[in-house]
């Protein structure tokens, strides 16, 4: 086929892609430049930023971030699966729409509002503590805000919508005749789910887990405000290094390391889940 307008059609997108590439190259370049305190302009080439990162303080934040992201992705997967299944399988169109809208609304509220709402839920005089105290179940508020538990719960809420979308897309593509065949052969609903539906939705599970992990890694306001400085993620470290100490080279180096780490973690997920995928007979 002839390709009329090809050049005009892809040029604007190519410009955007080039801009993105240049921005990423700028981060990479800064990661290898020396920080001169009191100066906004970085100095010459150095590996010092990456050496600095090995310090327990920073390595600890990395380790913590990965743990938080993994935990959040798994919990979001566990919570998201029933929602996605109900969304795809609901017969009543109103129920279907309601489940979809409720599940994705948080995505369209942005991280700031969701995080703020969780502050009201988790605070000492917040919804959970206020309700429990009004019911006389506790005398003094349980600390929830500024704890890991609080951060994880809020992160799961932030990550859940994407995981639901990924899972629903995969479940929607399952051929229902396979389930019907299993049922016709005498399998009970739970067995049909366990031996047919779940294995066939494995691509969605992998996509949900990896996207959930990457999405959580990107979270900034949630760990910053709910963690209140006690739970720090790489994103918070990058921001405070940039805007509190103007150490942009080190912030850039942390970003690069974060990217590499996410890529390795995602590749690891795929490798780990591959045998599972095979056992699932897909």
């Amino acid at each position: 086929m002839r390709r009329p307008f090809l050049f005009w059609f892809i040029s604007p997108a190519a410009l955007v892609a080039a801009g993105f590439l240049l921005a990423m190259a700028a981060v990479l370049q800064y990661a290898f430049l020396a920080f001169i305190p009191g100066e906004l302009q970085p100095g010459g080439f150095t590996l010092q930023n990456f050496r600095e990162m090995m310090k327990p303080l920073y390595a600890g934040v990395f380790f913590d971030t990965v743990k938080l992201c993994f935990l959040t992705a798994v919990l979001a997967l566990l919570a998201g699966y029933p929602l996605a299944l109900a969304l795809v399988r609901a017969r009543n169109p109103y129920v279907k729409s309601a489940i979809l809208i409720i599940s994705v609304t948080p995505l369209f509220l942005g991280e700031v509002i969701r995080t703020y709402a969780w502050i009201i839920v988790l605070g000492n005089r917040g919804f959970v503590n206020g309700s429990l105290m009004a019911l006389g179940l506790i005398d003094a508020p349980i600390p929830l805000l500024f704890t890991r538990l609080g951060v994880v719960v809020a992160l799961v809420h932030v990550t859940l919508p994407v995981v639901v979308i990924m899972l629903a897309a995969a479940i929607a593509h399952i051929d229902r005749d396979l389930e019907r065949a299993a049922a016709a052969l005498g399998a009970r609903p739970l067995r049909v789910f366990w031996t047919v539906t779940l294995p066939l939705s494995m691509p969605g599970i992998i996509a949900g887990l990896t996207t959930g992990f990457a999405w959580t890694f990107s979270a900034f306001a949630t760990p910053q405000l709910i963690g209140g400085g006690r739970v720090n993620m790489v994103s918070n470290l990058v921001y405070s290094l940039g805007f509190a100490s103007f150490n942009f080279p080190f912030a850039a180096a942390l970003s690069v390391a974060g990217l590499v780490l996410t890529a390795v973690a995602l590749a690891g997920f795929r490798l780990l889940l591959r045998p599972l995928h095979k056992v699932g007979l897909t």
Partner: protein, 264 residues
């Protein structure tokens, strides 16, 4: 078992909804604190939120940025999606990978990169940087929803028009574009909402002069503890829900998000 499953789904939906409901209730608190159960009833935090200068300018900035960024991404995205769907060309896979990459890259990295690049170009924190960062961030979503729409257009319609003697430009204008219209509208809306909400990258690339609403709200939460933020959240939640319900009614949210494939 079906009952237990339904109960579980209801509980999960309640978990998703609960924070938003709690924020809405807290917005009507009469005192100057956030506390449960609220005491008294007052509209005054809504009044304060609507009159708060940073929220007003932030809202105007967000509308401005979202309108331009989503329009640009739909124009750029639809042309690119069409070319990538219908043509084979060198570098296609690379271009597509680059355009979709921002999905997998943390927003703080993209924000930091945009900030450094802008500083190097002497364009620090102006509108072009903010808008460009938003275009980069929402383009993957626009592309995704446009691919789905393009796949649903029967290529024979275009071939028929071509074989009847229409020139390619006319085919695109009279056949492809009208068939693509719902997809374009859906993509535009999706992009506008995402850009309106974009926070982390905006925090890096905006200044006091260009701060968007989410950035203004973030700064407010850090400084004040009164229910004004709950009031603005309540308005925000209301607005978003209305937009989503309308989008679902007219464009099919499931189709925009790719959670349906029509066979079920």
């Amino acid at each position: 078992m079906i009952l237990a499953f339904r109960l579980l789904v209801l509980l999960l939906l309640a978990f998703v909804l609960m924070p938003a409901l709690v924020a809405i209730i807290a917005a009507f608190e009469a005192r100057a604190i956030i506390a449960f159960p609220p005491q008294g009833f007052s509209w005054r935090w809504f009044e304060r939120a609507l009159n708060y200068e940073d929220f007003r300018t932030g809202f105007a900035h967000s509308v401005f940025v979202a309108a331009i960024a989503s329009t640009l991404s739909v124009i750029i995205g639809s042309m690119a999606a069409y070319a990538m769907d219908r043509y084979q060309f060198r570098g296609k896979a690379t271009l597509e990978a680059l355009l979709l990459a921002p999905l997998a890259i943390p927003h703080f990295t993209i924000g930091l990169g945009a900030l450094i690049l802008a500083a190097q170009l002497g364009q620090s924190r102006g509108w072009p940087v903010v808008i460009l960062a938003h275009v980069v961030l929402v383009l993957p979503f626009v592309l995704r929803s446009l691919y789905v729409s393009l796949k649903n257009i029967d290529p024979r319609l275009e071939q028929a028009a071509l074989s009847l003697g229409a020139r390619p430009g006319r085919v695109i204008w009279t056949v492809t574009l009208p068939a693509l219209a719902p997809g374009l509208a859906g993509g535009w809306l999706f992009a506008a909402i995402l850009s309106f909400n974009e926070f982390t990258a905006s925090l890096f690339v905006t200044s006091q002069r260009t701060q968007t609403l989410p950035v203004a709200m973030y700064n407010y939460v850090r400084e004040y503890a009164d229910p004004s933020m709950a009031a603005i959240s309540a308005l925000y939640i209301l607005l978003t829900t209305i937009v989503l319900v309308i989008a679902n009614r007219f464009l099919g949210l499931g189709r925009i998000l790719g959670t349906e494939d029509g066979r079920n």
